[in-house]
Subunit: 449 residues, 2 copies
């Protein structure tokens, strides 16, 4: 183990971030038992769930017992909410008056789920973000600009509080428009930023086209923390962002119902660390449910927030797909690495023409080809009994001369990476929809079978 | 003094909020000496200012000595900023890396002033707001909706943190549009809200006209905290807001450079309390500079934030005009009352036709007449050598039948309250500009003499 004085310069919590895995797992088991008992005793929703499975909290004795605990899905939360104690219903484990924070999921996959947090939960959110921002090099000397809507979605809220906690100077970018945000970054010489990949690229575009500002030369942003979309873990998208801003771009993963559970560190190992101090995470084979411990095999992430008390997140079926990395991270953290971050969604990797298709794979291809714009759209339809995929792209005005070569590259790469053929539609530059927050680029119009 | 157990139910800080005035002044003097010494020793700006006046911190011995200390005006801050330590310049009293919060003034009266705060300052902001929200009945059982842009202006930021501190459930209304905000208030049954008077009235209008929602019947907001404009201290504007929402409406006063220094309590005494625990406030005759201790005489507020450390606010010339109230407040607080809140601005009460004119007085008249819309505009111009005042108003569609009687009332009331004659222009309903935040209703186009 490293000298603790040196470690203090690198890790937010030197002790736990370098704890051997077996000790981390022992810590997780202890906390897991505690949160399970807490939920069982305080929430009718959880008690019903565990009673129906014939499980008592005391049945969990060793780490392997964790898988006996039934999983929770987002759809189960929807059914119990909008009831007393209003509006959270039966999953709430604290008196309503202890709730200090209301947030909700974005509703992109259905009715939004409400998320109550106590003040203790909110401090825990900031703590989770403090691990990740610190791991990405945020220090008290940083001036952090946060171009974010500050509304009912949790998004960068905890990042804001964590940056304050670390001691950064925080500039909230609330309702300002994109141009005003860029000018404020320039005026105040901000050094860091948090945004979705879509918006990071969109801002660079606006800066160049509308203000004649080249972010990589004229601005001083040198690190960017992404969230909300997989982009920062997709090498070609990350490269585009890093080149546009002259900055290091880091991924972060989390969810309203779970918390900020994973992050990329400055070693940029081509993957993300799970925060094993605050979360118990398992990879599960999508077909068999078997727990995956070895690298190179894709599984679904099932995750427990070990310290979240108002509306606990126990064995949450995240639908996120990942693989363990083969090597430990050079940064020295013992927190395990997921190779390539979240590599897909169990509910969005759909079979098209009998082949598994992930929108992330298409993004990887599109953003890897010079001359293509950042925006694209994938539309899957039925032609008779056959699936049909249309990919809409834009060619940059300055690359129009290479149109044919670009399209050939695109077709080749798509065939190679996704094993599928596409109808490619070239749309005029700037005509595809632009998104401020999460992009909606994948449309499956085949209807349910 | 009341029984402390009862007092705990009413006051955020029962001890200081009921301290006799002489003890409050002793506390203020002690803190004043401390902050003066702090600024003198750490800021070149302050040292220069005091050296030029031949003043040393140790010259301040008794409360009356406070007036020996030179005043600071906003314009003086502008001159020293945008320099090293960038961008705050010579007034900064802490190392730059200790700053955790950037905010700036709105710039409605010139170049914006930057305001750095340390984390200690930020906790102090929340504490000041906690006094006021608690005095207005906010408790941990409240669900507070904050329809606010969360950007570089401090506005309701500290209110957000203070509501969390008290233990309310906070719903941040960030970039949502007005209709979405109203629907979210309804969906979640929010009980309290913070907004500018202009927006409070605008929301009610949108609710009725666009959504068919009557806030006083269909929504559950029962207290509203205003800031940013004098409206909640102008009886007719307050009445309009209270009727529209079926809620108690409370005023709060503060400024980016000062802090949240004054608030109305649930006793609604027709004025605002100064937070004498955190601020030393004096009223000064605008002409002679004499300190005013007696009620019924208008003076300019000169104010010191006693605990603000990054960019201290010592003897700040606020340009706000006020009068001490004659009676203490029935709420039992010993914090002194300003009658009618801030009653004008030393730099906006201008002479028109030789008479002192305050835009607030016009607002009081317009909002007091049934049948007039909430929006209005005052434009002062020169006709030859003579001042000319145009007042633009809107008549509500349903009141068109009473047009003549409304205009007669308006003319009479204006003559009575402002001693001036106006060209009254009736504009079609909904045609005058609407403001989301601070309204800009007064335009002086006479140019400088």
């Amino acid at each position: 183990m490293k000298n603790l004085n040196d470690a203090k310069q690198i890790y937010w919590n030197p002790l736990v971030e370098t704890l051997p895995l077996e000790k981390l797992k022992a810590l997780q088991l202890k906390k897991f038992k505690r949160i399970l008992k807490w939920a069982y005793e305080r929430s009718r929703f959880h008690r019903r769930l565990y009673d129906e499975a014939g499980l008592k909290p005391e049945d969990i004795k060793v780490y392997e017992d964790v898988t006996k605990v039934p999983k929770v899905e987002k759809s189960m939360m929807r059914d119990i909410q909008r009831k007393d104690p209003f509006p959270y219903g039966d999953a709430l484990c604290v008196p309503l008056e202890e709730v200090t924070e209301f947030r909700q999921t974005s509703g992109t996959t259905g009715t939004p789920v409400y998320q109550p947090d106590t003040w203790q939960d909110w401090e825990w959110w900031s703590e989770a973000w403090a691990y990740l921002l610190y791991a990405q090099g945020y220090r008290k000397t940083d001036r952090v600009f946060i171009p974010f809507g500050y509304n009912i979605f949790v998004a960068f809220w905890a990042g804001h509080y964590a940056a304050e906690k670390i001691g950064c100077e925080v500039i909230p970018g609330g309702v300002l428009d994109t141009e005003a945000r860029i000018l404020k970054i320039q005026e105040l010489r901000a050094t860091a930023m948090m945004a979705t990949p879509t918006y990071v690229l969109g801002m660079a575009d606006t800066a160049k086209k509308k203000l004649g500002i080249d972010p990589s030369k004229d601005l001083t942003i040198r690190k960017i923390t992404c969230a909300g979309e997989p982009g920062a873990s997709i090498p070609s998208t990350k490269k585009r962002m890093e080149e546009a801003w002259g900055a290091k771009v880091y991924d972060h993963v989390g969810a309203t119902e779970i918390g900020a559970w994973g992050f990329e560190c400055t070693a940029q190992p081509g993957g993300i660390h799970i925060n094993e101090a605050l979360f118990l995470t398992q990879l599960e084979d999508v077909e068999t449910g078997e727990i995956i411990e070895e690298p190179g095999r894709t599984g679904k992430i099932v995750i427990t927030a070990l310290d979240r008390i108002a509306q606990p997140c126990i064995r949450f079926d995240s639908k996120d797909l990942a693989q363990w990395a083969e090597e430990p991270c050079p940064c020295g953290r013992t927190f395990r690495l997921l190779k390539g971050g979240v590599i897909g969604r169990a509910d969005d990797i759909t079979k098209v023409k009998g082949v598994l298709l992930s929108p992330s794979a298409i993004e990887e291809v599109v953003h890897g080809i010079k001359g293509l714009g950042n925006e694209f759209e994938v539309i899957v339809t039925k032609k008779g009994d056959l699936d049909d995929i249309t990919l809409k792209i834009e060619i940059l005005p300055e690359a129009e001369g290479n149109r044919e070569s670009i399209l050939t590259q695109l077709r080749d790469q798509l065939r190679l990476k996704t094993n599928l053929g596409y109808n490619i539609e070239v749309h005029p530059y700037n005509s595809l929809p632009r998104y401020e927050v999460k992009a909606k680029r994948f449309k499956d119009l085949r209807g349910k079978p």
